[in-house]
Symmetry: C2
Subunit: 202 residues, 2 copies
Amino acid sequence: MSRPARYHHGDLHDTLLREAGILLREQGVEGLSLRRLAERAGVSRTAPYHHFADKNALLCALAEQGFRRLDTMMGEVELDPADPEPGLRRFVRAYLRFASDDPEQYELMFGRTLWKSGRPGDELKGVAYGCFRHYLVRLRPLVSQGENEGAEPLRLAQASWATLHGLCRLLLDGIYLRREDMEAVSDQAVGLMLAALRPAWG
Amino acid sequence: MSRPARYHHGDLHDTLLREAGILLREQGVEGLSLRRLAERAGVSRTAPYHHFADKNALLCALAEQGFRRLDTMMGEVELDPADPEPGLRRFVRAYLRFASDDPEQYELMFGRTLWKSGRPGDELKGVAYGCFRHYLVRLRPLVSQGENEGAEPLRLAQASWATLHGLCRLLLDGIYLRREDMEAVSDQAVGLMLAALRPAWG
DNA sequence: GGTGAATCTTGACGGCGTCAAAATAGCACC
DNA sequence: GGTGCTATTTTGACGCCGTCAAGATTCACC
């Protein structure tokens, strides 16, 4: 039932987040204005300010949701240290799927909107860094440590994440990468990572 | 000498581009408004519209400049197919330096502002794709083709560019990478690329 | 039932990109 | 030297935006 228009919305905070997520997915950050959002929620233009300090805060909350999703996704991929190749392939695929399922959310999570021009809140920083730490923890067992001078896991984690991230950006922004190339290029990326896992090159 | 305020500026097109470049470098895209730009050029707010169709067109012109710089930079790095490692190292360093010298320009060149939410003009597309083609041409001789099943040069070019690009984005947006980590991580990236150049992993 | 806090409203301000119409200057041609 | 065409620049206006201030309404609690 459509409840009668009440003065107090009752659930505005969550409604705003939900509608903002939809608006973000459909129109991108550019299409996500507080005014339009308020209108969608059936509320006046300044009402959101009683639930989020400003637009930056709302976007941070939205990005946090994304990082939490990404974190659980990363935990679900099975990795076998004895035979890393299939697991890595699954992981790369999952990461790319995560990014292309909701490109605007991915953009918001990692883009300059929050991290450069905006002000990422402590909560956001925490969950974002936690996500990377989680990645590092999962990657570490795959790095062969037999020979000394093996690749430093932290560096490998940073470089490989950069590769995944770069792939996503080039793909999502539509420059240098097309959708139909994605499979071949991501296989190449898996190859890069695999080669780096073994300290045998020298 | 400061010429007296004339009705016709005489050199507005170039002045706009120059001032826009400065404004971009200093304040980022967010700080680059046509109104402020016009004010800096000592001209009324709508004057720029007689030299650039709209803001998008001006940003495209700015990005084109960047790609031309990047293209000549790429041509200057010496690469030796017989011993690729030092050349690759130089190249990676040069690319990262290019990005960190003027982060806002790099962001504009590759960011969603133009490629996703904006409308990249044909001129911009041409010079951007030319840049990648140039990269591919320079990388190809380094790929060992002895054994069949060697890495496909195009895929390798895409994957390695993605790595470089991802490094730049993570660094410039200030997430997961800090400036002092850069040297180690970029060495790791060189390692990734070197490993991929040799089709020996299998 | 009254009171203080939480919530929501209207009104306003300055900034933005951009369109329309009027003003001005440069320039080719008579 | 005048004349008209065109490029250039101006002022004015419109509709967006984020956000602050002040007032109205409702809720929770004593």
